[in-house]
Amino acid sequence: MPLATLLCYVGFSALCLSMNRHYEDLTGRSFSGSRAKALRLLGWAALLASLWVALASQTLGQALVQWSAALMGSAVVLVFVMSYWPRLALSLAGVGVLLCPVFAFLQLLA
């Protein structure tokens, strides 16, 4: 479940960055259309990946419940952190991306 939650956070961060109203707040750089498309793709891919990871690790019912919780929880955390500490929100997403392979490895071992 930690991997699925991380992927949710990363996915939402990417989707958030793909919007011009947030991109500049978070990165301080100007927005570009092609980057937006790539971020949107990455975002949705990460969210779908998180669902797949959740389904792979437990029964259907438990997976859907926990995935929904991860989805809602990561969205709330992102919006809260982003609104007060935008750079921190971005850093967390970066850290999340780095930690994903670590947790994936741990989950495969378990």
């Binding site: 019912g61 809602m72 929880g73 709330v76 992102l78 919006v79 982003m82 609104s83």
Partner: protein
């Protein structure tokens, strides 16, 4: 045309939200507390200490006590202690008279000597029955649920930029921040809100939408319940008596039939008679759907497995699944806290909505500084239903610690305290809003609430410190967790009270949008 539709939905959302918002705030807050009802009960009855006992020992003690104290009952119910409830719960339907229940000490098997208190059950029952007579309360709560559903959907339709503003929260911008906040807790936690609201309708559906039962089963409505829950069909007791078999060995059969799952409720039908039977259902913590239809029935005299029923049909799993998701019995500690936080989010969604409703209309009267009667009424109800309710909740806990440990009607007095404080808060809100201003009402109630919540851990140490320390020594963090949650709540309320400091003229100016400020 689309704009017209959206406008109508906005109107509907606003008025449905206002008329039922106060009630829904109370339902959501007490419902949210109910996710920790077992833990609240542990706090209100700290005398009951958890013991590590085997299921067999537990049921033996329960069976012995019931055999001695309720031998002529029509039905016994036994609930074993678990990680969230330390007591061995026994209850029974006597041959004559009302349903009775007792908490037994799981180690000694005798009724527990603890202060009488409803504990978490008070908030739980309140959130669906509203302290009203059985049917009336549930109907009103169900009506509120339907209005909530309408408010949610109309809100979604109204929120034009639901995707564009998905991540938007702009702090320190007055009314805009309140609206962003309302949208954030609503949209980001939407799956939970929709689930909670729809499932609450499903939970009471046999009461609020019974006609299909009547058209398919006619007068034999009991037949419907017997078809769903064959294991709970009641039979009148036979005149012949026979000793009840020991229940403990039946657990082994249950363990075989339900690998990885514990037994939840044990029901003994017609104990002591020749046609006695023992019904066992699965423990709620072990699976998501609520399935009382999945049960094992044993012969009460020979202890043999008579029948096994499985509630696996898809339609039943849909209803049972929604029921189970609402109740959250299956949730472990982390998920339970998430349920709690989501519930707080829902409560905040309603609260911010009520504040926004008033705030928007108040701006129109900012220049004259005098609010018309209707808006003052709304303000009074906002204060009483939100900060007033918070005061009432904490008073329940204060009463639990301050009232003498043993006197009859103690439990009723805790409940009376809750409602008296709520009533006084309403009167205070009335006096302040109509004779002075809303700000002072909020400030004073939030300040008092902050003090009471923050002081709760101190009160606990002072009046029941022994139990608190004993529980910590045992490794049980429940009492401490409740105290700490109260403290955190108190700090939050103190911050709220701080925001209402002063007379508001300076703060109001900053709350006006830049456009209005320019126009001035």
């Amino acid at each position: 045309m689309k704009e017209g539709f959206r406008q109508v939905m906005a109107w509907l959302h606003t008025w449905a939200g206002l008329t039922f918002g106060w009630l829904l705030f109370a339902i959501f807050l007490t419902g949210t507390l109910s996710y920790f009802k077992n833990e609240i009960t542990q706090w209100t009855q700290p005398e009951i200490v958890p013991h590590e006992i085997s299921a067999a020992d537990g049921v033996n003690r329960a069976q012995q006590w019931l055999g001695e104290n309720a031998p002529d009952a029509k039905r016994w119910f036994i609930r074993l202690p678990d990680e969230r409830s330390p007591e061995l719960g026994v209850s029974w339907t006597p041959a004559k008279g009302r349903f009775e229940e007792r908490s037994l000490d799981s180690l000694t098997g005798i009724p527990v000597q603890a202060r009488e208190s409803m504990g978490g059950e008070f908030f739980y029952r309140f959130h669906f029955q509203l302290q009203m007579p059985y049917r009336w309360g549930r109907w009103l709560a169900s009506l509120a649920a339907m209005v909530m559903f309408v408010a949610l959907i109309s809100g979604i339709i109204t929120h034009k930029k639901i995707f564009k503003e998905f991540f938007t929260f702009r702090p320190r911008k007055g009314q805009r921040t309140w609206l962003d906040g309302h949208n954030a807790v609503a949209v980001l936690v939407l799956p939970f809100h929709l689930m909670i609201t729809y499932s609450s309708l499903v939970i009471f559906m046999t009461m609020i939408m019974p006609l299909s039962i009547l058209t398919t089963y006619g007068k034999n409505t009991q037949g419907f319940f017997d078809d769903l829950f064959p294991a709970f069909k009641t039979e009148p007791a036979l005149a012949d008596r026979a000793p009840l078999a020991s229940i403990a060995p039946m657990f082994e059969v249950a363990a075989e039939k339900w690998p990885g799952s514990r037994v939840g409720l044990i029901t003994v039908n017609n104990p002591g008679s020749a046609n006695a039977s023992v019904t066992m259902t699965r423990h709620g913590a072990d699976h998501i759907p609520h399935e009382p239809g999945t049960a094992l029935v044993f012969d009460g005299v020979s202890a043999e497995l008579k029948s096994e029923s499985n509630m696996g049909a898809a339609s039943l799993m849909l209803a049972g699944g929604l029921y189970g998701l609402h109740m959250g019995h299956f949730a472990g500690p982390l998920l339970r806290w998430l349920y709690f936080l989501a519930g707080i989010g829902g409560t905040a969604m309603i609260g911010t909505g009520l504040v926004i409703w008033l705030g928007k209309r108040r701006l129109k009267h900012a220049k004259s500084g005098v609010l018309p009667f209707e808006l003052r009424l709304v303000e009074m109800l906002n204060v009483a239903s939100m900060s007033g309710l918070m005061l009432a909740v904490v008073s329940f806990f204060w009463a639990n610690r301050l009232l003498p440990v043993s006197f009859t009607g103690r439990s009723d007095w805790e409940v009376k305290t809750f409602f008296c404080v709520w009533g006084v808060a309403l009167l205070h809100a009335f006096a302040r809003v109509f004779l002075r201003d809303g700000r002072s009402a909020w400030r004073e109630q939030l300040t008092l609430a902050a003090l009471l919540y923050c002081a709760l851990p101190i009160l606990d140490m002072a009046t029941a410190g022994g139990y608190l320390l004993a529980s910590l020594k045992q490794g049980n963090l429940t009492l401490m967790a409740l105290d700490m949650t109260a403290l955190a709540t108190g700090i939050f309320l103190a911050w709220g009270a701080f925001r209402f400091r002063g007379d508001g003229k300076i703060v109001l100016a900053s709350k006006l949008t830049p456009a209005v400020q320019e126009a001035r």
